[in-house]
């Protein structure tokens, strides 16, 4: 894997000049297009602002993501789930036995003790505040995953010990269940009742946060904690 290109020989001068000219020309054309086209069209801001009182949230970004265009977000959660499933074969089936004492630097351990609770708190805040100001499930999930990476680096726990499958699937399950349930009430898939929209969005976002954090954390863990056997482990030859 990772074959090197034998590129010590530089490409011919003519090719390089053509490439440079093409890049300069495209850049100038792009700048000219931006300058010529003038101010951007107003878009759908007015329509979103008009419909905002019926969305259940006050932040227009969250209103678009989880109410007006929630179908897109549902599919995004599904795509993330598929990505996580695709990396599951790389995952360790069992947590590694810590036979030797893991040397954790005291500075890192102390820092993690301070940082991880703060990061978890901030993640919860971002999830909650998404209804009123910038924030939301993706940001909160990414923060939680960052806290997990920190913990795993400090030797706090092995990512292989996580109950991966329930965590990965909960976002998609809750989102689909809510979508079907409100469909039964209002008659349209993903059409929330106005009175309950805020609570439903928070429920969906909370479940999505868990799944997003688990997905990102597993993407990292599957790389950082490779399966012991197989061509990629390389445990027999220690790195020089």
């Amino acid at each position: 894997m990772f074959r090197e290109l034998n590129s010590n020989a530089a490409p011919p001068a003519g090719l390089r000049i053509v490439c440079a000219l093409a890049i300069v020309g495209l850049t100038l054309a792009l700048i000219a297009a931006v300058v010529v086209s003038g101010p951007a069209a107003p878009g759908l801001q007015a329509a979103v602002a008009a419909a905002l009182p019926h969305s259940g949230v006050e932040n227009p970004v969250t209103a678009v993501l989880l109410n007006f265009r929630s179908y897109d977000t549902l599919l995004e959660i599904a795509v993330l789930f598929v990505v996580a499933v695709a990396t599951l074969p790389l995952r360790r089936a069992v947590a590694p036995q810590r036979t030797e004492a893991v040397a954790v630097e005291p500075v890192l351990a102390a820092l993690v003790k301070l940082l991880v609770p703060l990061v978890v708190l901030t993640g919860g805040y971002l999830l909650w505040v998404g209804a009123y100001a910038p924030g939301g499930a993706f940001q909160a999930g990414a923060l939680l995953a960052g806290a997990g990476v920190l913990l795993s680096l400090a030797g706090g726990f092995s990512l292989a010990a996580l109950p991966a499958r329930p965590l990965l699937v909960v976002g998609l399950v809750v989102f689909t269940a809510v979508a079907a349930a409100v469909g039964a009430i209002t008659g349209a898939f993903l059409q929330y009742p106005v009175a309950a929209a805020g609570v439903l969005i928070l429920v969906i976002e909370a479940a999505a946060t868990v799944s997003i954090a688990a997905t990102l954390l597993l993407l990292y863990g599957n790389l950082a904690e490779p399966v012991p056997s197989g061509p990629l482990a390389g445990t027999k030859e220690p790195a020089s």
Binding site: E4, A142, Y220, L223, A224, G234, E237, A239, S240
Partner: protein, 94 residues
């Protein structure tokens, strides 16, 4: 020049320079560190543009988790048997 424009031009130039450096360096570890730095500058740029949602996501995913993923991949590349003859941080790829 007003202070706002000075900050914006410095940010824009910094993003371009860091992007070029992270692509052109032949040292994988340096490239990863430069990429993470690029992510942090892009985060400030998004915040300056008023897109705070994107800025938070870029800081957490673009700079933080992608950086951790790249570093994990880099560590694993070093331990692949065919690559052990090289020294750490000396993986020339270009």
């Amino acid at each position: 020049m007003p202070i706002d424009m000075t900050i914006d031009f410095t940010l824009g130039a910094g993003v371009l320079v860091l992007a070029w450096l992270s692509l052109s360096t032949t040292n994988l570890f340096k490239a990863i560190v430069l990429f993470i730095s690029l992510g942090l500058l892009v985060t400030i740029t998004w915040a300056r543009l008023g897109a705070v949602d994107v800025a938070i996501a870029e800081a957490a995913i673009g700079a933080g988790l992608t950086g951790a993923l790249l570093l994990a991949a880099w560590r694993r590349l070093r331990t692949v048997p065919g690559n052990t003859r090289r020294k750490a941080g000396d993986n020339h790829v270009s």
